[in-house]
């Protein structure tokens, strides 16, 4: 990088502010800590919240993995990875989860389990789960402080009355450590149970909305549900009652994306490309 640009792009004052916010976010699990969210050389909404967290955390001995919807090769992941490589000389990047020390992700938690020495950073478009029931942030902050989520539960109840089902497909409201309810970013329902008692620290960064929050390791994370209507994940069974498999690696346990192939038929494939490739390598020895 040319002279005049700091390691990891952010100036040291910006990093210190993010550091203070991250520490408070870990100390108050699920609470959205406000921070100033600096201008980045890309539009807000392109992962600037996650990017600022990654830049405040990263050091020259880190190995970084960047994922967009499970893929290391889609445009958001490639651009973020290039920017971080350019501004952080000395770091390594990888697509293999096992090699990474720092993982920035958009809308997926990796298929394979995270380790205690890894940190997952999730990009967040809308940080506040209460925004659908209360437009005023001042009031939402009080509701969060009091853990008053009755209106959110009414919204879920109305879904059940109208559709016999809670209709939230992603950004599923999740209660952390029995108090704060978070928007866990647009991860599918399939990923929500993996927030619970995770081995790795999970950090959430919302750049446009200027919030940082965290789910510490070994912390209770419960998706919001009712005693008689339990939480359920996506259903991948076909009309014969069989679990669909990935057409590339054959996995019958992974989260699948649906495609229409050239013949017009529906096909299914792992959303996590790194996991899928590793499964194929195992199969071919």
């Amino acid at each position: 990088m040319s002279n005049g640009i700091n390691f990891a792009f952010l100036d040291e004052y910006a990093k210190r502010e993010i550091r203070r916010s991250v520490i408070k976010a870990i100390c108050i699990p699920g609470y959205q800590v406000p921070y100033s969210s600096r201008e980045m050389p890309m539009g807000r909404g392109f992962g600037t919240g996650g990017l600022q967290l990654t830049l405040a955390l990263i050091g020259a001995d880190d190995t970084l993995k960047v994922i967009d919807q499970g893929s290391d090769d889609s445009v958001n992941a490639v651009n973020l990875r290039k920017f971080i490589e350019m501004t952080c000389p000395g770091i390594d990047t990888t697509t293999r989860l096992q090699e990474a020390t720092l993982i920035q992700s958009r809308h997926r938690i990796p298929e394979q389990p995270l380790r205690a020495d890894q940190i997952l950073v999730l990009q967040v478009p809308y940080p506040d789960a209460l925004v659908i029931v209360e437009p005023s942030e001042d009031k939402r902050k009080i509701m969060h402080g009091e853990a008053d989520y009755s209106r959110l539960l009414v919204k879920l109840y109305e879904d059940i009355v109208k559709f016999d089902e809670i209709t939230i497909s992603h950004r599923y409201p999740t209660r952390i450590n029995g108090h704060y309810i978070i928007d866990p970013s647009p991860i599918p329902r399939y990923d929500v149970p993996r927030l619970n008692h995770s081995e790795a620290l999970i950090l959430f960064g919302a750049g446009r909305e200027k919030k940082i929050y965290a789910v510490p390791p070994h912390c209770l994370a419960e998706p919001l549900a009712f005693d008689d209507v339990p939480f359920r994940i996506e259903d991948f069974t076909d009309s014969h009652g069989e679990r669909r498999a990935c057409k590339l690696c054959g996995s019958k346990t992974s989260f699948l994306d649906e495609f229409i192939d050239e013949q017009g038929a529906r096909v299914y494939q792992c959303s996590d490309s790194d996991y899928c490739e590793q499964q194929q390598e195992l199969a071919h020895g």
Binding site: R20, Y31, E146, P216
Partner: protein, 181 residues
């Protein structure tokens, strides 16, 4: 020769230690090597003119204050308070508010050692898989007694960091501390 704690590379490594320490309460994290006390290394990593610091026991010298670029505040108002852990508590820190609990103070205590003390404590809570035991050396008992009072109404409270020459040990407000015989 300026100590490495004022260098960005050192502060980044120290921040990762802090993140790990607060993610795993009770675990002793070793800071990168420097000539300064761990408490000053931690402050150099976290604070600047945008924050506020109280030093009721005069642990920082004038050059530390200048390099931290931070203004002094009373312990009742400060975001960060650095204290000798062997002395009794004689102030009431900021606990934050219901809407903004992040304003609850961070208390950085200096100790002789983080282990080998006479009193043993069992910790449970987020970040701890089952339970973990600690025995900080020379910690005045009033800190944990007052902490229980300060942290009695979550999300309000204070977050502790015990420091010594060997490293740091974090006690976020969610950690439950029980003395064991």
């Amino acid at each position: 020769m300026i100590d490495v704690i004022w260098q960005p590379e050192f502060q980044q490594a120290t921040f990762r230690c802090l993140v790990d320490a607060y993610s795993r309460p009770g675990q002793i994290n070793v800071l990168p090597v420097s000539n300064s006390h761990s408490a000053i290394a931690v402050l150099a990593t976290l604070v600047d003119g945008e924050s506020s610091l109280s030093d009721p026991h005069q642990l920082l010298d004038n050059s530390d204050w200048l390099r931290l670029q931070i203004k002094s505040a009373a312990p009742e108002q400060a975001a960060f308070i650095v204290c000798e852990g062997s002395r009794a508590v004689d102030f009431e820190p900021n606990l934050g508010t219901l809407a903004s609990p992040e304003h609850g103070a961070t208390l950085v205590l200096t100790l002789d050692a983080l282990s080998g003390g006479d009193s043993h404590y069992q910790l449970t809570g987020p970040g701890i898989q089952h339970a973990i035991q600690i025995a900080p050396q020379g910690l005045n008992k009033s800190w944990f007694t007052r902490r229980r009072h300060w942290n009695s109404a979550f999300p309000l409270g204070v977050d502790l960091l015990l420091t010594s020459a060997e490293g740091i040990l974090a006690l976020p407000r969610t950690t439950l501390i029980k003395e064991i015989d």
